[in-house]
């Protein structure tokens, strides 16, 4: 009965072939601590999933307006069940994302995994790295406390140092001549709409290329010269 239902589904959707291609593919033989380095990409994907889920939950009780942002964040921490935990996960997950992405990038760089034919995977990964930085920068403002406000002020001032077009870049970034309500709603829109959409696209491309090219072998020690 169950096998008949599965066969029916597989024949019409091909999910068994997709499953095989994704999870039954060849993985390089690596032993010892080096093997753990191959988990960094998956770890990043896992934390990203946690960020997406906890972020969605937080958005249910968050208002990106100067009147309510700070109070709604406090409300999450004090009134909502598991609110402190969910917000803590999102807070720490944000730091973990940056750390894991950096470690993953170092692994790929030092093992020379970015070389032919995996340049496109590397480029998609660089895009994802920049998106993670974008998430960090926009998300940092949302609690609307002193630290968030002044950190974003510093970021806007740095953007303002761009030669020739600095003042325009800074104004576009904060949504006006001064930081305020428009900055907060702009950062919120970037954080929950724009960046997730871009990340979704880049992530699909990155993962497709990882599966398509296969995982690169770890570098081998050569006894006699090179």
């Amino acid at each position: 009965m169950i096998s008949a239902a599965l066969a029916w589904t597989f024949e019409r959707t091909g999910v068994d072939k997709i499953w095989e291609a994704l999870f039954a593919r060849h993985i390089p033989e690596a032993k010892g601590p080096v093997a753990w380095l191959y988990a960094l990409g998956s770890a990043t994907l896992f934390v990203f999933t946690v960020q997406a889920v906890t972020g969605t939950l937080l958005a249910m009780n968050y208002v990106p307006s100067p009147d309510h942002a700070y109070d709604s964040v406090r409300f999450i921490g004090s009134e909502v069940y598991f609110g402190r935990f969910i917000r803590g996960l999102h807070h720490w997950g944000a730091s973990f994302m940056v750390v894991l992405v950096a470690l993953h990038m170092m692994r790929v760089y030092f093992m020379a995994s970015y070389k032919y034919p995996r340049e496109a995977t590397w480029l998609a990964g660089v895009g994802l790295f920049l998106l993670v930085i974008g998430f960090s920068f926009t998300g940092y403002l949302l609690p609307w406390d002193q630290k968030a406000y002044w950190a974003t002020m510093v970021g806007a001032n740095i953007a303002g140092q761009t030669p020739f077009v600095g003042s325009y870049v800074s104004k576009i970034l904060i949504g006006g001549a001064e930081m305020g309500a428009a900055t907060l709603s702009r950062f919120y829109a970037l954080h929950v709409l724009v960046l997730p959409a871009l990340t979704g696209g880049a992530l699909v491309l990155h993962l497709f290329l990882v599966v398509w090219h296969g995982i690169s072998e770890p570098p081998k020690r050569v006894e006699k010269g090179s």
């Binding site: 946690v50 906890t54 009780n61 309510h68 109070d71 409300f75 069940y81 598991f82």
Partner: protein, 153 residues
């Protein structure tokens, strides 16, 4: 090894999924807060003479506090027990008034008449005047205004 991985994964999934689910369904366990409003000293009310009191009720709405202007008709038979009527006619919600010569509450919209206890004397209202909960704390009359015409007995 496979079992250890499955077990650890299940534990992580249970913690993350469980707390996420708890967060999502937490409104189900939210309690309605009791919003008592101070209407003044009990000495200000004369026996058997209804008095209309305007007040501002503060209600917490999640992270915000909203202020609402409201009023109540307060009646006391003896200066100790108090009745607070919702100032809206139970027919269609018009504000009624007290007519001291007839000793009746009169609603101008559809000529409804209530007696001093809020019972319907004549007119279309389907039920007596709605009442707010009252209590006396330290010589101050407190009411809990309920919205939407639900009778607080």
């Amino acid at each position: 090894m496979a079992w250890a991985i499955a077990g650890i994964s299940a534990a992580i999934g249970a913690v993350l999924g469980g707390s996420g689910l708890g967060y999502f369904i937490s409104p189900a366990f939210a309690k309605r807060e009791e919003e008592w409003v101070d209407l003044g000293s009990v000495k200000e009310f004369k026996a058997n003479v209804p008095l209309k009191i305007d007040f501002t009720s503060r209600k917490r709405d999640a992270w915000a506090t909203v202020e609402k202007r409201a009023s109540a008709w307060v009646l006391t038979p003896n200066g100790r027990d108090f009745i607070a009527f919702d100032p809206k006619c139970t027919h269609l919600g018009c504000p009624y008034r007290w007519d001291d010569s007839q000793k009746k509450f009169l609603c101008p919209c559809h000529t409804a008449v209530f007696d001093v206890d809020g019972r319907v004397v004549s007119g279309p209202p389907p039920r007596p005047l709605d009442r707010f909960s009252t209590k006396v704390v330290g010589g101050r009359l407190m009411v809990r205004p309920s919205s939407g015409g639900e009778a607080a007995a």
